[in-house]
């Protein structure tokens, strides 16, 4: 799948961070939709299922891990990359247990992020093929 066809959803309450990240992705030809809280994220997933969701763990309102759990339940094909601002690997590991594809720590390298998105989409594709 071409990068232009990727559907990415970015979820973080840090507006400055996430909008800038979206802008940079767009410069690289990746279209990304941005929401700032868990509820909007769930809504966005329900409206238009993304390939990859980049999800901040620590947010006001519905927490990242809960969003993950609910999305994995409703839309299991969505690959989730967790973002965490602090060092607790507990959240990352817990996230992976709940079905996240991987987790990353802020600040992150955009190249690494794109590599992981690629792996996730690749994996999702293979998994879908295996499932058929």
């Amino acid at each position: 799948m071409n990068k232009q066809d990727w559907k990415i959803l970015l979820v973080d309450d840090e507006h400055e961070f996430i909008t800038t990240l979206a802008e940079r992705l767009e410069l690289r030809g990746i279209a990304a939709r941005v929401v700032f809280d868990g509820e909007s994220a769930l809504l966005a997933v329900a409206q238009d299922e993304p390939h990859v969701m980049v999800l901040d763990v620590l947010m006001p309102g519905i927490k990242g891990l809960e969003v993950l759990e609910r999305v994995k339940r409703s839309n299991p094909r969505v690959q989730v990359l967790l973002l965490t601002g602090h060092g607790s690997t507990r959240d990352g590991i817990e996230g992976m247990r709940l079905g996240a594809f991987d987790y990353m720590m802020k600040p992150l390298s955009i190249d690494t992020l794109i590599e992981k998105m690629e792996s996730a989409i690749d994996y999702a594709g293979k998994a879908a093929n295996l499932g058929q």
Binding site: E16, R24, K106
Partner: protein, 574 residues
């Protein structure tokens, strides 16, 4: 009693209070003294009571053992004396009754009677007939006593009064100790006369000799005035005054203990004669009688002293061991408290570090993204005079962000290390779950991940999330090392110390040089992709959890990382 109760309660109170308070060496000294005192009292008081009771009981038993034969002997001898005197008195009485006055007054007849008496009964010295006026009308014996008048002598008065008389021992006219037996007889016509015989007291000595006493023992006869009737070995000659006062009157043979005039402690057995004015006495020194007792007493004393020594020794040893244990426990407790305090301090620092890192990471992420965007925009702009310079500035900011990232990540790493949460866990389940995280990638790359987990693996007490990070690191490394289609084997089995887990891959392996450095921080072979912290963090975690990690690797063949983990954290920290 209250003091005793206090003594009994005291060490216990000490024990409990000592656990609560910091214990000074003086308090241990006091405690040691109290415990020893309590143990010694608890053992020595019953032991002493038993010893004293035993001592007196034994002594009394032994004394009884000695006194009884002595009492019996005195009784028998007294009976012998009484029999002797009764026989002689009966003989004289019989003669007085069997013969008439005229016959007895006949010298020849009396001599014949006397010779028969002497032949049949030992001890008769002479025999005389005395008329009612006290004149000896006839006499047979070694002395010229015929015609002697006894009217004013006490014995004459007494025989006239009582009809019979046995005298004390006396010298009298004969000049040797003797006893007289006198019997009064009354004829049908109312005339009275007295037949009197003298007995040699050597017979008495013979009876006493027949008692067969030991050389240091003594037996003798005294009269009720305290004059010796037979010679005593220790208390005077015959007819001398006995050197100690007479014991209380009793006709039953009695034994008493006394200090004799020679200063010896003696058993004195005695009995008064009911029919005569005599007391038979036998004295036996306690020391010779109680030789056996003294031996037993020596043994008893030895056993007691040995028992006391043993009790003291045992009390001291036991107390020392107890105090040592308490000290050790106290030390361990203090150490544990210090450790808890230390880890609490570190934990607070850790939480603070995590908070700071988190707070800094978010704005840092914004700077990173904004600067990144600036760089992106600059990069796509056509050249302009300051473009290169601006790009240099932007890169400089990005490098600074990277440095800050390194700092916050180290702080977070530190916080993680402090964030230890110990629980009992099933390692099999943990490994299976962790391997599950990487199943996606493994499947993607067709890497065969095999798990060989012993079902008998014991549950261990450790930190779940830290161990998960360890296994995640190891599996990630293995996955990075193997080519697509490679294989990874994770095995876990019980070990003497706890559990042995190994992660084996058939990847590229490592050189000896690389192996030397793999646990060092920032050492990486992943060429820009890795942080170089994975194995150093793993190493730190494993060491902190009380385990160990070892590596074996052959270039081109593969690598095996083996972890040992203790069953419990206490063992690990001990």
């Amino acid at each position: 009693m209250r003091k005793l109760a206090a003594l009994i309660k005291h060490p216990l109170r000490e024990l409990t209070s000592d656990v609560d308070d910091a214990v000074s060496p003086e308090r241990y000294t006091t405690l040691r003294r109290n415990i020893i005192a309590l143990m010694v009292a608890a053992t020595l008081i019953p032991l002493s009571v038993m010893a004293v009771l035993n001592y007196y009981e034994h002594q009394n038993a032994m004394a009884r053992e000695i006194q009884n034969p002595l009492r019996v002997l005195v009784n028998k001898t007294k009976n012998s004396f009484e029999l002797f005197l009764a026989e002689r008195t009966s003989t004289v009485s019989l003669i007085a009754s069997a013969y008439t006055y005229a016959e007895l007054a006949d010298e020849q007849k009396l001599a014949r009677i006397f010779s028969v008496m002497k032949r049949e009964f030992e001890g008769f010295v002479d025999l005389g007939l005395i008329d009612e006026h006290g004149t000896q009308v006839n006499y047979v014996g070694p002395y010229a006593l015929a015609g002697k008048n006894y009217a004013d002598q006490r014995w004459f008065q007494e025989v006239r009064l009582k009809g019979k008389y046995v005298s004390d021992v006396f010298m009298g006219l004969r000049k040797f100790p003797h006893v007289i037996i006198a019997v009064q007889h009354m004829t049908e016509d109312g005339r009275t006369w007295i037949l009197r015989a003298t007995l040699d007291t050597r017979q008495f000595e013979r009876i006493i000799a027949s008692m067969s006493l030991e050389p240091d023992a003594d037996a003798f006869l005294v009269n009720t005035q305290g004059l010796l009737q037979t010679s005593s070995n220790n208390y005077g000659k015959v007819l001398e005054k006995l050197t100690f006062p007479l014991p209380p009157l009793t006709f039953e043979p009695t034994v008493l203990t006394m200090i004799d005039p020679l200063g010896r402690e003696v058993f004195l057995a005695y009995a008064y004669f009911p029919e005569a004015d005599f007391v038979l006495m036998a004295a036996k020194p306690r020391s010779s009688s109680l030789k056996t007792w003294y031996t037993v007493r020596g043994d008893l004393l030895f056993i007691f002293v040995a028992g006391v020594a043993l009790v003291l020794f045992a009390a001291m040893r036991v107390t020392d061991a107890l105090i040592r244990r308490m000290k050790e426990a106290e030390d361990r407790r203090e150490l544990a408290l210090r450790e808890v305090e230390h880890s609490q301090k570190l934990s607070s620092i850790g939480r603070l570090a995590a908070g700071v890192a988190h707070e800094v990471n978010n704005p840092l992420a914004i700077i990173n993204e904004k600067t990144g965007l600036m760089k992106d925009i600059l990069s796509i702009q056509p050249d302009f005079p300051a473009k290169e310079k601006l790009l240099v500035q932007v890169d400089s900011v990005l490098r600074a962000v990277e440095r800050c990232r390194g700092i916050t990540h180290r702080m977070l790493g530190f916080a993680r290390r402090m964030d230890v949460s110990i629980e009992e866990l099933d390692l099999t389940e943990l490994i299976r779950e962790t391997a599950g995280f990487l199943a996606n990638e493994a499947m993607h790359r067709k890497v065969d991940v095999q798990l060989d987990l012993d079902p008998e693996l014991p549950r261990i007490v450790s930190d779940r999330s830290q161990l998960q990070q360890v296994f995640l690191n190891l599996l990630n490394n293995a996955l990075a090392a193997v080519a697509d289609g490679g294989s990874i084997m994770v095995s876990a089995q019980p070990d003497e110390a706890g559990v042995l887990v190994s992660v084996k891959d058939n990847g590229c392996g490592m050189s000896d040089e690389t192996m030397k450095h793999i646990f060092e921080p920032f050492f990486t072979t992943k060429k820009g992709k890795g942080t170089g912290l994975g194995l150093s963090i793993t190493y730190g975690i494993i060491k902190r959890l009380g385990g160990d990690i070892a590596v074996e690797s052959t270039q081109g063949v593969g690598t095996t990382l083996t972890i040992t983990l203790p069953k419990g954290q206490r063992e690990a920290l001990a």
